[in-house]
Amino acid sequence: MTPRLMRLMHSLLAFILGLSIGAQALPVRGEQQAAAQLPASSQQARGLLQAVHARLDKAPVVKGKFEQLKTVQGFKRPLRSTGVFVVARSKGIAWQVQQPFASTLIVTPDSLQSRDADGALSTQMNASDEPALRTVNAMLFAVMSADVEQLQAMFEVSGQIQGQEWALHLTPKDALLAGWLGSIDVQGQAFVRRVVLQEVRGDRSEIRLLDAAGSAELSPADAALFAVK
């Protein structure tokens, strides 16, 4: 059933933002075979995704700051928050919200955890309990490796490329998901710079990533984030 799937969009977002995870690690599967079967628009989408893939930085770890502007129905003002993020290939993504209320969100291929400012666990979800979690993650790895078949199973993909600049527009194919999530827009160059999530209901979230930089490995402090069970 979908509510759980919807909730997993947390992790979907998290991975979109970590576009360079596993960019080198994952092969582009079944390319020749698929090319013959897919319609023209799909081939265009494949070309697009491959072009995006080529432009992305391939560093195993990416760190930076973020700023989110969220519009929620019923609230007079948009909600603005800032913090730092770190993405590690095959490990996952950690979001540390610093302002206005501190919390940490850690998304790994196997689980999703939310922690209070004092480190206490407030939400925990495991892929073993929710098979969709693993799949959403796998799908996002597919984004990064431009695996058209995987990605197109769930989204219609369109977009443009201008020099090093690229933009993707994703709309869900699945009727249940489309009933809730309107679209996802992703823009960037070597790193993702902006993501917009548009809910059908009207709520909207815009996330900007700033000062992103690649590195070869996680700092001990960051590694500890992922190590916590």
Binding site: S81, E130, R134, L176
Partner: protein
């Protein structure tokens, strides 16, 4: 015919009106049977559920009813899983498969699946009670958390990256309780809707789950694997599109079909095999067509009448009853053989007169065999009762045919002499006698019994596996489907009872509260209960108050922090959600089966478990029900094993009693020589136990029951030898009867059903022993007596 009449008229009373009426009456009975048979085979309703052969546990009649109700619901369901590494490939294959299945000759229906519309209607149905629904974890968490923690959590959600998955306005559910509640409901199955199909990811494969139902009309088990053929045909088509497609299939109909196919095969092997043996024997011994044909006639009549009467008494016959019934061929042949052996021995005695002299002995033999078969029925196993009735009626009908018709149809000319018959008959003269048979047997039996008891060599087994005759490959697939999909265990569950719906729900909740730690400890991965979907009125009221208080607090806190003016949305449910309202909703489909409703003033429901962590988890699960009113832990395998054990012990007692009774009955007929008829069977029984212990074969209920039959059939040999004082024709009949019986049970020993195999092999060992031993106990009446 006239010569017969004339001849017999000279010597005794003519074959009177009494004989004639009897023959005609029997003909009338058989015509009725023929009509019934015609209907019976046209309907072809045969049971295949092995569990139906088990007795209801007299200590828990509820459990039997529940098990029946649960299995009824799955009796026609079929689950097919197709898997490829890529979801698109899976979809392509599934479409091909599905198209082919629906277009095929075998009528399968697609089962209803959760659709987007159904999802919406489920949400709308539950919306009025939204604030009265909490998961166990949520309730604990809300009660434990401070107001400030709750406010912080709401703020975190708002400010964390991404958007929240909500099913309404933020203010109506600031802590996202409602989606989490649905998530936990979704955990009933691992399969999820995707692209209008049911999708499941496991072991690196993308699976599509297809569910089918068999319409009633399709459920005739013909003995042909039609369902398997249809499914494999469709699979073939799908594999043409996707060559490396993996597939799994599960469902009761497949097991039923496999059991039917196997039963048909075994019935044919045993039935035709025995018949061929009987024909050969009859031809070898009597050298003319008529005895052969008449013996076959008696068998045919015996089997048909047995089937009709059993079907009429029990409504539905079980496949295994028929498999066992096929062994009847070898036993029921005895009476015809005796008649013709007697005719051969005294060809000048008119048939009816001969029959009159034969009747007491044949009657005695029928009585002991019937008693033995009836004692099988005493075990209260419905299956054994069917088998017992089938056998007794079959024997009686064969005997009636011999008695009523043979003297007429025999047409005056007895069977020809044959060298084979003569040799067999004369072989008795060369058989030694055991001088101190009585004392010797007692000593040998006592010694062997002592040795068995002392060495503990008998390997007792009361395992439920005795009854499992499931196809190993199907079973493996079934288990894999259950594992992948997270299906509940059909063998272990809780039964909850109460005087009202509310009481049942409250009791369920007390139980599921106790199951939470067991999930955390990994004993189970989850459970399914109606109270998860419809909490008790008590709990709904508590939760509604809790949620409304919490939400008010949270909104006040958020308003203060963010300078907003969000107003709490207070839902006022029209009334408490009841099972009656819920059960007719499409969303109830997943748990409807758990609610058994009311009968005789008692409401019942079942709480099922998923992902039981092997047998080591069972004690903890059993303990969870202890001390809870109206909650009973049901462990079917353990229950069946204990049942088998109890019956093994009580039937062993009955076997000893049976031996005593048979000896007593023989005393009435043969006086002080009675032990000579009884001891061969007794000694053979002890020897069977010894041999099976030496071969390390397990000893179980069905061996005990087979010994019961060995007594009934084996004593006959002694009776014939004793009654006819070792006349060659009697010995010939005994040998032919024993060989055909041995052949039938030997073939039954080839059965793949462990219980029938045990039955067959015990008799296969025991019968020849009785045959060899019986002549040792002859009365010493000839000249040799004096010499000795």
């Amino acid at each position: 015919m006239s010569t017969v009449l004339g001849q017999s008229g000279k010597e005794t009373a003519p074959p009177s009106r009494w004989w004639r009426t009897l023959a005609l009456l029997w003909l009338a009975v058989l015509m009725a049977v023929a009509v019934h048979q015609w209907h019976f085979w046209r309907q072809g309703r045969l049971g295949t559920d092995v569990m139906a052969l088990l007795p209801q546990d007299e200590r828990a009649p509820d459990v039997a009813q529940v098990t029946g109700q649960l299995s009824e619901q799955f009796a026609r369901q079929l689950v097919v899983m197709l898997g490829a590494e890529d979801w698109n490939q899976t979809r392509v294959a599934a479409q091909a498969f599905h198209r082919h299945v629906l277009a095929g000759e075998f009528p399968l229906r697609e089962a209803e699946m959760a659709s987007t519309a159904a999802m919406h209607s489920a949400l709308e149905f539950y919306r009025p009670w939204q604030q009265a629904l909490l998961t166990h974890a949520q309730r604990e968490n809300l009660m434990r958390s401070s107001d400030e923690q709750l406010v912080q959590r709401a703020l975190q959600g708002l400010y964390q990256p991404g958007i929240q998955a909500r099913l309404g306005d933020w203010a109506s559910d600031p802590l996202e309780l409602w989606p989490q509640w649905w998530s936990e409901r979704a955990a009933q199955s691992r399969a999820r809707p995707r692209d209008g199909a049911l999708w499941l990811q496991a072991d690196g494969m993308q699976w599509q789950v297809l569910t089918y139902e068999l319409p009633d009309s399709a459920f005739r088990l013909s003995g042909e694997p039609r369902l398997q053929t249809a499914l494999h045909g469709a699979l073939e088509q799908a594999r043409q599109r996707v060559p490396h497609l993996r597939w799994l299939v599960a469902g009761v109909p497949l097991h039923a079909e496999a059991a039917a196919v196997r039963a048909h095969k075994e019935i044919n092997t045993i039935g035709w095999g025995s018949l061929a043996g009987v024909l050969l024997l009859a031809w070898g011994a009597f050298r003319s067509m008529r005895p052969v044909l008449l013996v076959v006639l008696s068998l045919l009549v015996g089997c048909s009448v047995a089937l009709s009467v059993a079907a009429w008494c029990f409504g539905q016959l079980h496949m295994l009853t028929l498999v066992f019934g096929a062994s009847l061929v070898g036993v029921a042949v005895d009476y015809g053989m005796h008649y013709f052996a007697a005719r051969q021995g005294s060809p000048h005695v008119p048939p009816h007169q001969l029959m009159r002299t034969l009747m007491p002995v044949l009657g005695m033999a029928l009585t002991t065999s019937s008693l033995a078969y009836f004692s099988l029925g005493m075990a209260a196993f419905p299956g054994l009762r069917q088998m017992a009735l089938l056998s007794v009626v079959g024997l009686a009908a064969a005997m009636m045919t011999v008695m009523c018709w043979f003297p007429w149809l025999d047409a005056g000319r007895g069977p020809q002499q044959s060298r084979l018959a003569e040799r067999i008959g004369r072989s008795l003269d060369f058989w030694p006698r055991w001088r101190h048979a009585g004392k010797g047997t007692v000593a040998v039996c006592a010694l062997l019994a002592l040795a068995l008891w002392g060495s503990g060599a008998v390997r007792v087994q009361d395992d439920v596996r005795l009854l499992q005759n499931a196809d190993a490959q199907l079973l493996a697939q079934q288990l894999q489907v259950a594992r992948l999909m997270g299906l509940p265990s059909p063998a272990q569950f809780y039964l909850v009872r109460g005087a009202s719906e509310e009481e049942v729900l409250q009791r369920e909740e007390r139980l599921t509260d106790r199951l939470q730690p067991l999930i955390a400890q990994g004993h189970i991965s989850g459970y399914s209960a109606v109270s998860d979907w419809v909490p008790s009125a008590q709990r709904q009221t508590q939760q509604l108050a809790l949620v409304q208080r919490v939400q008010e607090t949270v909104l006040a806190g958020v308003n203060a922090h963010l300078d907003e003016s969000l107003a709490p949305v207070v839902s006022r449910p029209p009334q408490v959600l009841t099972v009656g309202e819920w059960i007719h909703q499409p969303v109830a489909a997943v748990a409807r089966a758990l609610w058994l409703g009311e009968s005789q003033g008692v409401f019942r429901s079942v709480v099922t478990l998923r992902g039981i962590d092997g047998t080591q988890a069972l004690p903890a699960l059993e303990k969870a029900a202890q001390g809870l009113d109206g909650v009973a832990w049901v462990d079917k395998p353990a229950e069946i094993s204990s049942l088998l054990r109890r019956y093994r012990v009580s039937m062993t007692g009955l076997l000893v009693l049976g031996h005593a009774l048979v000896l007593l009955a023989l005393c009435g007929r043969f006086g002080r020589e009675a032990w000579r008829a009884w001891m061969p069977a007794a000694l053979a029984s002890v020897l069977v136990v010894v041999i099976m212990a030496l071969c390390n074969m397990p000893w179980q209920l069905f061996n005990v029951l087979a010994l019961m039959l060995l007594l009934g059939v084996g004593v006959d040999y002694g009776i014939f030898l004793l009654a006819y004082k070792g006349e060659p024709h009697a010995w010939l009949a005994v040998v032919m009867g024993a060989v055909s019986t041995w052949l039938s049970f030997g073939l039954l020993g080839l059965s793949e059903t462990p219980a029938l195999k045990a039955f067959g092999s015990t008799l296969m060992l025991g019968l020849p022993m009785v045959l060899i031993l019986a002549p040792l106990y002859r009365v010493q009446t000839t000249g040799k007596l004096q010499v000795n």
